[in-house]
């Protein structure tokens, strides 16, 4: 398999460049991450984040043949060669495929990503009916891998002011949680300025690349309707079988 991987060492490189690699595939190279880990035996200076290797931690998000995805669940059998691997678009590159996620996580923190309920706690749990719990489907599964936000043009132009699809799908998860009591404040925060939510142009790149098959654009539509005090559909957000990069 032929690969072209973006390399960058801030200590001696002016700017990132593509380095070519070639490796014989073996039977166990099902996913791109398997190939990358074996590449490290060839060149141990190659750096990238990875952890769970099963598509649930979101660490190995990268731009593969132009499309963001998780290396650990991107099948090698369908990849066009040479496989061009670059870091997530729009994010500052620390080294090779490592990007700076600070801004991304700041946006996440800014949407108050925890349940706000100051009522006196009940004996056991705060009850929620199955229907109320279903509303969170299609949003709670977000693993904050940043594939969506780094493929969103609106987020590229204003990463400091637009919350981005990942932050907004998490905001949805709390706005539509029946146990949360800060709905008004959350809606005011997102609807109160022209940037935080309203930069979304429904381009839908987020839904196209989400490795979990989520559709942040639908979450944003739902929040917009709620801000406008129009009826929002019941039930969870629709999901789709994820398409990995080819």
């Amino acid at each position: 398999m032929k690969l072209s991987i973006s390399r960058y060492n801030p200590e001696h490189d002016e700017s990132p460049y593509l380095q070519d690699y070639e490796i014989e595939l073996v039977a166990s190279d099902h996913m791109l991450l398997d190939v990358l880990l074996r590449l490290k035996q060839q060149d141990d200076t190659l750096s990238f984040r990875r952890s769970c290797r099963e598509g649930v931690c979101g660490s190995d998000a990268m731009n593969i043949n132009g499309r963001n995805g998780l290396a650990c669940i991107t099948r090698t059998s369908t990849l066009r060669e040479p496989v061009v691997i670059r870091p997530l678009p729009g994010f500052p590159i620390i080294r090779d495929l490592f990007v700076d996620m600070t801004q991304f996580f700041k946006q996440y923190e800014s949407i108050t990503p925890y349940l706000v309920n100051d009522e006196s706690p009940p004996e056991k749990e705060r009850l929620q009916s199955p229907a109320e719990r279903d509303r969170l489907n299609g949003a709670y599964e977000c693993i904050l891998c940043a594939c969506c936000s780094s493929q969103c043009p609106s987020y590229w132009w204003n990463p400091d002011k637009f919350v981005g699809p990942a932050g907004l799908i998490k905001a949805y998860r709390f706005i539509f949680d029946s146990r949360d009591r800060a709905t008004e404040q959350r809606l005011d925060d997102l609807g109160g300025d022209p940037y935080r939510l309203f930069r979304c142009r429904t381009i839908m790149n987020c839904a196209e690349v989400c490795p979990k098959g989520l559709e942040p654009v639908r979450a944003i539509e739902a929040i917009r309707l709620k801000i406008a005090q129009l009826p929002v559909h019941q039930g969870g957000l629709e999901t789709h079988p994820p398409k990995s990069p080819k």
């Binding site: 609106s154 132009w157 204003n158 609807g191 109160g192 300025d193 939510l197 801000i227 005090q229």
Partner: protein, 112 residues
């Protein structure tokens, strides 16, 4: 309805003006296809009738508001320095207002 500030108001204006213009354009296309005005006098007399004047004014009001929201979105996305952005937004607002005045003058002149 408590309008949550500029983001939502702009969104509503953009949608409402779009729907209005869509209906107007469809209506105008059908009207001109069925009754084309071939001479200056036909054209002028149609354009100066009170209903048409109202319709044209309403259309341009919708158009200029729609343009304002759209161009403002473009500037908000790309014009990063706040001073430059405000300057460009002011320029756009001024041009749109100028065009509104121009259209009113054109239609007013027809009544003489």
């Amino acid at each position: 309805m408590r309008l949550r500030f500029t983001g939502l108001a702009a969104w509503w204006v953009q949608r409402a003006s779009a729907v209005f213009m869509l209906l107007f354009i469809v209506f105008a296309l059908v009207a001109f296809w069925l009754y084309p005005r071939h001479s200056y006098l036909e054209w002028r007399s149609w354009a100066s009738s009170p209903c048409v004047v109202m319709a044209i004014l309403a259309f341009f009001a919708a158009l200029l508001l729609h343009m304002w929201v759209g161009l403002r979105d473009v500037l908000l996305d790309y014009a990063k320095p706040a001073g430059l952005r405000r300057l460009l937004l002011g320029g756009v607002a001024g041009s749109l207002f100028g065009m509104a005045v121009w259209v009113v003058l054109i239609l007013a002149r027809l009544q003489t």
